[in-house]
Symmetry: C3
Subunit: 205 residues, 3 copies
């Protein structure tokens, strides 16, 4: 199935971003592999724990772990050339964000969750791997500060549910949302679209 | 039921404290809403995940999410005037702490947990939303450093269990503990009551 | 049973390391007790939540909480003399790491998890209490940066599974892995063995 293949590409891309983040903190090999796994598989794990959806994906399909560990080790060897691949990885990362979101929404729908919980399950899957990565690397999660990211996840989820509501076929809806969400993410990066920031300063008054 | 109304006030007040904390980190709208939801609903979620009590409150009652999201957006618009309301919010926050604690204890009692686990469930519900807020905003959790907060939660839980042990009616016990706990919290703020700090310095010796 | 006694020693030792870490951040008594409990019991709790293995250990055996709370309070009173005991605590901490790992592997095996998940369950149990401690104290988790630690946990788990695969008796395998893992950890401290670090700098190119 298409979504499954995209999922495998997505966890690989997310594992690479996790490994690079660990390298910026000068972690050892074990830390790099751990952060890579948490980044790639953490989003789905958070979703499954919150929804009580056991066993977790990587417990049932341990091959996901092999892919992410392999991607982390591979990253260490090729890191010095990765800046040539920057564009490819931004695309893969965007694809991962959108694919994770659709998978999260689909699983919450199977569990008969209310609509807003379906959207949140999609966003948790898409975004919380990166949040865990940033917390473990002791940084304010990037997702709350940079250009459209979680918003892309939310829009993708809303579009998916709307299409299903109007009885569009599930595969068609998935493909439409994948391409639309990816396009939105790439446009957001290219034109630095951001949503407004809220700045609160206790001493401002 | 009284506790339910107080719960709604409490999650609203906690959502406001979360939104303000996100504003101090200059997060975008999405970050503000996320931190608000985590602060308001994270305590109960942590408790439910730890006790295996599924589905989580906000999965079953998605209207809780609408209240917290609404409170976060409202905060953004009124933040500049909030310093006039500081006293009211300290009271609401204290009420929330005590109400969350009593709800956490009640749920753990229904699950037939041992006494110390009931107390911990109360404290987790009262306190861990704020801990998650501070970790996501990359700060040492305030709860471990400022005036009586978790201790108020503990005292409230102990008092509640004692009253129930002496066969006081559940509603009476709840009301007594709510007012007693809130009074303790407000006195602690007014007189800066703290519990002793433990300072350990490796180089001290 | 031997492993049970070692487990009690291990949670006590881990509680002491948590209390000292909280003292370095000048936390109050409540913070010290909380960080001690999270350090000692957090690893097993993370494993149980991820595997859906309810109720958690300390919910079923609340006496574990009494040991860790007692150890944390005890630490506050004896902290000034603890540097004399540094060697003993390094040994106890190493014993705890290895014992936690073996317990985690044993529980995942009972749940019929795949091999790699059994190893991860062992490492999660051995290591994640310390990771939670460091995140709550707002530090980059030490486990990703210092001498062999998680690697000791991994080697212990691998050795344990190999011995069981070759039909070695469970108690014998446990004893062999306990002593071997502890020896490896102590040698790693003595000779500052480290695994290679991955340093990635965006501006390097």
């Amino acid at each position: 199935m298409l979504l499954h293949i995209i999922y495998l590409i997505a966890i690989t891309a997310e594992a690479v971003t996790g490994a690079l983040s660990a390298g910026r903190q000068r972690m050892d090999l074990f830390g790099v592999v751990t952060i890579a796994c948490v980044t790639a598989l953490g989003g789905g794990s958070v979703r499954d724990v919150i929804l009580g959806h056991y066993p977790l994906g990587w417990v049932k399909h341990p091959e996901f772990l092999y892919y992410t560990i392999g991607a982390a080790l591979f990253t260490i060897f090729v890191a010095r050339w990765l800046h040539y691949l920057r564009t490819i990885f931004l695309i893969l990362d965007g694809l991962g964000l959108v694919a994770f979101t659709l998978i999260g929404c689909a699983i919450a729908r199977e569990l008969n969750c209310p609509t807003i919980v379906v959207l949140i399950a999609g966003m948790l899957t898409g975004v919380s791997g990166g949040v865990l990565r940033d917390v473990l690397c002791n940084q304010v999660p990037l997702v709350f500060q940079k250009e459209l990211y979680a918003s892309v996840s939310l829009c993708t989820g809303v579009a998916y549910l709307c299409l299903l509501y109007f009885q569009v076929n599930d595969n068609t809806a998935t493909l439409l949302c994948l391409s639309g969400g990816l396009l939105l993410r790439l446009l957001a990066i290219k034109y630095s679209w951001r949503i407004p920031t809220f700045t609160y300063d206790d001493n401002m008054h």
